[in-house]
Amino acid sequence: MSYPDLPAKGPSGDIVGKPRRNTAATRFYLTNEFGLIALIVLFALAFQFATDGFFSPFNLFSLGRIAAVNIMIGLAMMVVVITGGLNLAVGAIGVCAAMTCGYLIEVVGLPWPIAILSAVALGAMLGFINGWTSVRTGLHSFIITLATMSIFFGVMIFLTRAESYRALPPVFAAFGRMKLLGIFSPLLLVSLMAALFLGYLYNLTAVGREMLAAGAKPEAAEMSGINVGRIFIYCHMLSGALAACAALMLVARNGAAIPSMAGQLGQDWLLIAFLGPVLGGTLLTGGKASVLGTCLGAFLVTMLTSGLLLLQLGDFWIQSFLGLLLLAAVLMDKTRRTFLARRNMA
């Protein structure tokens, strides 16, 4: 901290040397990021012992491909959670964007880069509808996105007649199958770029700071000259765009744009969308983002799912397990915060 002047000046600003270092260390061990890294290592070792070929190149590759999409979904939720809201329509928006991309390529005949950009733009536009409606009506985004989830998905099914677009240019499937260094999927790079972008946004731009301030305390942000309504709309647009990216990555993985790729109404994405940010330490009440935490959280969940599948556990059990994990994460976060408050560390 390059702020040497003040503590020395006020004589009572005594920096208590040793205890401080201790608490700083304790604090690091209590962060979500550290906990997640520990859990990831722990489970990786456990699965290595318990299963056949958890660390095989094939499994690592497929793990990375799935994790990439899950991270993107987690980030799409996170950017709205920091406003104290949420976006239940991530899945629906994603599928809409993917189907639009397929339509533009197959039916309209646009070149694929333009189709991809249009799909992301559509995601942002659907996000705008969410944000604008919730800001204008003053209703919580829970209600708004619950409604738009059904609307977006319904309109999409009507327009596409629930047909898939399977004749996509081979670049999609090729990108999905591509291997870097034999084990990494380039999809991971896409997620990494999104995460870096968000890290940049929240730490090094005015808009990102305004998003966090508006999420933490809208009244104070508004009275400090921040246009809170507009900022919340930006957050929803960003969420829509990221959801669209996640869906396009899924298209690359599947080699086709399929209406049911995120389940009925896109609901299959919801659990993972919340697990990433919550495990990562993003406050559900808003005002604090953890990009790294969200990525680690999404990765952990992907690894657990994949390991349990290798253990031949039924899909049904895995869903229940993930639900339990979400509950445990929320409870643990609460305990951790009470602990920190007790010790006056937060």
Binding site: M1, G10, L212, A216, G225
Partner: protein
């Protein structure tokens, strides 16, 4: 009346990460007595009060209530022992009514029995009346001004009929008239045998009300429970800051008559009930706006900022009519700033850092291409103000909620000083700020005005008003009653102001 020891704290120590807040503090409270607890911002007053009432737990030391050692695990236990408290920060539930808030601690008595609202409101009305507070007990707290919330908070503590009552800056946002009412009530409590602890940065008040005093300096006793008698103002100041007070007195400032108004209100009427408001502030001028609690001063500022609509009249900035719809427009288009009186509600983002709060008004102007903005740049801009106001914090990364009340207030003001606006509406800037920093703050405000900023100063602190303002406008019941040219004499000006207020009340 025999006075005996009611409560004793000895050798209290308390550390927070990076700060040793209390280093062995002692305090003795007697019955039939009002005890002053004084000290600079961050000296440890609130921390001591929180330890006595079970909010924090001491690292070392003993608490003795009527001869028995006590360990309060939670605020509830303190209440059960009839130790009551009014904390420095408001702790009311905004959506609950005044009556519900006052009886919050007593509500849950029996799970299934319905709450007797008629009785509740009647009880609450009694306490409100005692404090001279003319509001319906059914009003939701969120509709009250900060000063009224403070009075409700006091009523809440009184309703518990505590034997030991701790008041942490109860008068911070009250005007002298409300304060007088409160004091006569506190004296009655004292005479009935209670023992009270009173924290304030207004030394005159403490000297007038209290019979004994403890001064804290940097978490230690500068003096412990000695009689107030024989202590002059300068003696107390020396105990508090280790030296005598510098005299930053009134200074005649002249704005040449030719200077055009930076902001002018013409026949303004608002949806909140202001009528026929005409006022202007010229470049480089400091204009005071005085009035009792509920006079409509803060409300006028908020109407200027577009938080509530004008129903008639115009606001002109630099001679051109301006339609301001939000603080954002005010700040970025018209260069108008507003220091809020409510630092907890709308002044600060408590969960964010000192830097994150102090820089909030300069993010946009400082950001480069694509909104690129580094902490360094923000730090560079805000550090001068944070240093000038002597904000006491272990680092700029400290969460604002962890600062002492006065230091939070300094951040809430500093961010607007750093904004570099042309017109600044300042609402109760020195609530909770100690006398030393208050003088620095006054210097900063004068400096701003000398450099051409037009300042509209709203304050309930009469000495502050008379120290700073060039002209004083008096508002009562949402109307301007008149104007006084400040000549710097406290007696003359305060009489003039009260006359203007009472004339309108008689009419």
């Amino acid at each position: 009346m025999a006075s005996e020891i009611a409560f004793q704290a000895t050798g209290i120590e308390k550390s927070f990460p990076g700060v040793k807040a209390l280093k062995g503090v002692s305090l003795t409270l007697k019955t039939h007595s009002i005890h002053a607890l004084l000290g600079e911002n961050g000296a440890g007053k609130s921390t001591l009060i929180k330890i006595i009432t079970g909010v924090h737990h001491p690292d070392a030391g003993r608490l003795i209530l009527e001869g028995q050692e006590v360990h309060f695990a939670s605020p509830r236990e303190a209440i059960a022992h009839r130790v009551g408290v009014v904390h420095q920060e408001r702790n009311l539930i905004p959506r609950f009514s005044v009556a519900e808030n006052i009886h919050l601690e007593q509500l849950g008595a029996s799970l299934l029995k319905p709450v007797d609202y008629a009785n509740l409101n009647k009880q609450a009305a009694r306490w409100l009346e005692a404090l001279g507070l003319d509001i319906d007990p059914r009003t939701p707290v969120s509709r009250l001004s900060v000063a009224k919330m403070q009075l409700v908070e006091i009523a809440k503590a009184l309703s518990l009929r505590s034997r030991v009552l701790l008041l942490d800056e109860p008068t911070a946002s009250l005007t002298p008239s409300e304060t007088d009412l409160l004091f006569s009530f506190l004296r009655k409590l004292r005479d009935s045998g209670a023992s009270l602890l009173f924290v304030s940065h207004k030394l005159e008040e403490a000297q007038e009300l209290c019979d004994s005093v403890t001064v804290l300096r940097d978490g230690s006793n500068a003096c412990e429970s000695r009689p107030m008698e024989g202590l002059g103002r300068q003696d107390i100041v020396r105990l508090m800051i280790g030296r005598a007070e510098g005299d930053g007195g009134w200074r005649k400032r002249d704005t040449p008559p030719g200077v055009p108004p930076a902001i002018e209100l013409k026949n303004v009427e608002t949806s909140l009930g202001h009528a026929n408001v005409n006022l202007h502030v010229r470049k480089g001028e400091i204009v005071g706006l005085y009035g009792l609690v509920g006079a409509g001063r803060t409300e006028l500022a908020k109407c200027i900022l577009g938080q509530f609509p004008l129903t008639a009249g115009t606001v002109e900035i630099d001679g051109k009519p301006a339609k301001i719809r939000s603080v954002g427009e005010a700040l970025h288009i018209h260069r108008v700033g507003y220091v809020s009186e409510d630092r907890k509600g709308e002044g600060l983002v408590l969960m964010h850092s000192v830097l994150g709060n102090a820089g909030i008004t300069v993010w946009r102007p400082l950001s480069a291409l694509l909104g690129f903005l580094t902490d360094r740049l923000v730090r560079h801009k805000v550090t001068p103000y944070i240093e000038k106001l002597e904000v006491k914090t272990p680092s700029l990364a400290q969460t604002v909620a962890n600062l002492s009340g006065g230091n939070q207030q300094k951040i809430s003001v500093a961010k607007w000083l750093a904004a570099g606006v042309k017109i600044l509406l300042v609402d109760e800037p020195s609530v909770g700020i100690d006398i030393k920093t208050k003088a620095y703050l006054h210097d900063l405000l004068r400096e701003l005005a000398d450099n051409g900023t037009a300042i509209l100063l709203i304050t309930s602190d009469m000495p502050e008003m008379i120290l700073l303002a060039d002209r004083i406008l008096v508002m009562n019941d949402y109307r301007l009653q008149g104007q006084l040219i400040n000549d710097g004499s406290y007696a003359g000006m305060s009489e003039g102001i009260m006359n203007l207020i009472h004339r309108s009340e008689a009419a």
